[in-house]
Amino acid sequence: MTTQPTAAEPFTTIIGLEVHVQLQTKTKLFCGCSTTFGAAPNTQVCPTCLGLPGSLPVMNRHAFDLAVRAALALDCTIAPFTKWDRKNYFYPDLPKGYQISQYDLPFSSDGRLEVIDPKGALWRDVRIIRVHLEEDAGKSMHDEAAGTADTRIDLNRAGTPLCEIVTQPDLRSPQESRAWLNELKLLLAYLGVSDCNMQEGSLRVDANVNLHIPLAGEGGADGRLAKTPIVEIKNMNSFRSVERALVYEAARQWEEWQATKAEMGNTPKQTRGWDDAAGVTRAQRHKEESSDYRYFPEPDLVPVTVSEADIAKARAAMGDPPTVLRKALAEKWRIPAYDADVLVNQGRDLVDYFEDLATRVGEGKVASNWMQQDVLRTLNERGGTIGEFPVRPEAVADIIGRVTKGDFDTSRGREIFAEVLASGRPVADVVASMGIAAVSDDDLVSLCKELLAANPKIVADVQGGKEQAAAGLIGQARKKNPNVNPGKFRQMCLDLIRGM
């Protein structure tokens, strides 16, 4: 992937991401309320997350431990001492008038996460400035349809633990930004830290983007770089919209640069919202309060200390991250890197399914082929998770075993797989009901003889040294008996011809 300026794109796009991830905890960060998504509005609330007078926060240590696990997997340094700060601003879905967050002493910093390109090569090593923990706000629903412009507030989400991950501006294209987000999402899912469901708001992305434009007239490639003003894009509700928004924004900034020559520093950082339907970013009204959050240490909470033992515990709970797992899987089962990548990218449960299957089959590549060609293909068609997939590894292993034994060939095996999937019946039943039975040697010999007699040209060709001509017989044999094992049939034909 080139990121050097080209004639078509005479600039480099500089992108940094800010990702908010909801942690998968049963209860909120500072109270015991449930975090389950989708409950009736304002039913998962208590004095603390409602911000009632006199209420106090108490930290959910499990949430903190999960955040430490994520930060470790992102290669961050964990601070031995961290504290909470209040970020003050007024908004109706922020009932206390401040958000408990972390300001100058985040619990972790200085990490990195690589993204690899589709061919398995390193695409970009993205440095992470910091990962910190904070509480989520509630949700405002603007009821403009009713004509009253009323805003309804649901505080079920208020106080849900949120990890904020801030990258350095290390990404160089919309495409790799999307790929990096996919890798991050995969990692967090593997860690059991977040379900990263963007529809439910458990993962939110803001992007900072500007262009670096080499000024040819001032010394060519060695000349000064013009940097366009940084724009923060918000309201992107899928990774696809992140990519689209970045593509749009880079083009917009290029046009604006050509028109205005405005550079960073001359103009304040702008916030633009992504309009997915229109496919454009739009300038958002400058919010006065955003300029000064009046951060100060949260006096209702005590600082948190993290010991070496805590870190060791978090590491132990981490499991293999995807990067490690891809290599491990390829080595252990002797499968190509491409196969391992496809499997790992589907998530932990699918890898477990594969390993179960491969163990039963005793051969990685065969299991992997069946995973890619049958299990994954049908899973994608059907939708749902691998956990809900009706054909379990033991059934697939059963089918593969029968193919290996020579009961039938792979394509017949596929038909059986499809029937097992459709009917939900056991493999043995399906095999029996489809009339599949091993063809006896006697039957095979008589079928061979019959077809050899009917095809003197093929016999002559084989006798003339063209063994591949025997293949012409296989199709005819399968028409007469679909259960014929092609390999065995072919060998028998050759043997018979040689004996003629």
Binding site: P53, G54, S55, P95, G97, R294, Y295, F296
Partner: protein
Amino acid sequence: MQPLELSAVDLVAAIRQGDITAVQVAEKFLDRIDKLNGPINAFLNVDRDRALARAADIDARRKAGKPIGPLAGLPVAVKDALCTADQPTTCASKMLAGFRPPYDAEVVSRLRQADAVIVGKTNMDEFAMGGSNENSAFGPVKNPWDFTRAPGGSSGGSAACVAADMATIAIGSDTGGSIRQPAGLCGITGLKPTYGRVSRRGLVAFASSLDQIGPMTRSAADSALVMETIAGHDRGDATSLADAVPRYTSMLEQPLTGLRIGRVAEHFGAGLDPEVARGVEEAFAAFKAAGATIHDVKLPHAKYGIATYYLVAPCEASSNLARYDGAHYGHRAEPGKGHRAEPGKGHRAETTRGQRAEPTSEFESPLVEMYCRSRAEGFGPEVKRRIMLGTYALSSGYYDAYYAKALRVRRLIRQDYIDAFQSVDLIGGPVSPTPAFPLGEKTNDPLAMYLVDMYTVGTNLAGIGGISFPCGFTRGGLPIGFQLQGPALSEPLLLRAVDRYQQLTDWHLRRPKLPA
């Protein structure tokens, strides 16, 4: 049996022994409140029916031989800054007028668990901000010793109701002296425990790192009794201390022989009323007579106490009070009114030609208007002053010069106390520079009002314990208060020292002359 004047210790014993019933006690106090609360204005809410029902339940259990709690039948008044699920909790603010919390403060739960009878909620300075109780949205409290004078604040209602025998004990909160100063001005005993000793959960926050709940009683022995109920770890308050709660009441009797009390020379400098100085010196002499020794100690940074306190507390308050915005509960301004600025007021938009355009909205959105007007209407002037002070001091560009510097000085002040307690066990001195001052005297001079806290704020900034108690009277018949400060978790010693003093003196038994 005349229950009004009995100590809490004696009253609880009398009820337990059946000398008097809890209902009889409650009726006596409720009748007294009926008679005196009009002029004194110590209570914002009195819950006669619930108090009597509660007392009847205690009597029934006692008669049935069932267990009753350690404070069974004791009439308790609770500062209106503590949440009560069955009575409004207003912090004496229009902002929370009529507000009913859905839960009890931890201290209120513990009092109920101990079978205390909560008779009502007491008046205070709005959101505990003030030293005279004149900042209440529901009118000032009068000092029972002289109705033309302030009872002190912010727990003025709690102090006045105990002094006027409208409750045997009261619960107050102390952020910079709000228990000790009104206790001193009303002639009662008030303990500000070590920060974290008593749970803050359910105490409407003023300044979270300074706020502490404590007892306001007639004697140290009564405070010891109350502390056994209200002190202790609360998992719902992250700043609450896990240390075991001592049996305060059984630790009072040891004599003071060998006790080292520090005396800070600067406490006797300019601004101290001579009559107060005399009373305090006499108390030092009494402690000496009881076997204690008096030593000069230095608190070099004490002179920065007021400046530090009036940065730390307003900064935290500006954030703590942000939740009162009219959106979810409390006072909300009526929509529409005042959305457009009146001609000649507010901002005017300039046209490009520099001519005045039609007056536009003063507010950038209906939401901001709701915030601004709800807060403008709901908060009183002192609360607004402190919110503005705190907001300013936390603002970018000012934070380091004000808030961050105040935190550094706070650490120095704390260290001063640690150093001083190397050579003495307790530090004694005046509670406030003057006796009770006339109502209205300082209301137009915020700085003069802030200076009434000069001897008390250090205790809160250092997070240690302090107690105030009467040590004499002025010629005009106003109580003079003495303050003892002790290291963290020194409550047993503070209570013992005052109890020993009160065994030798009778200042704490004097009562204002009020209609019977």
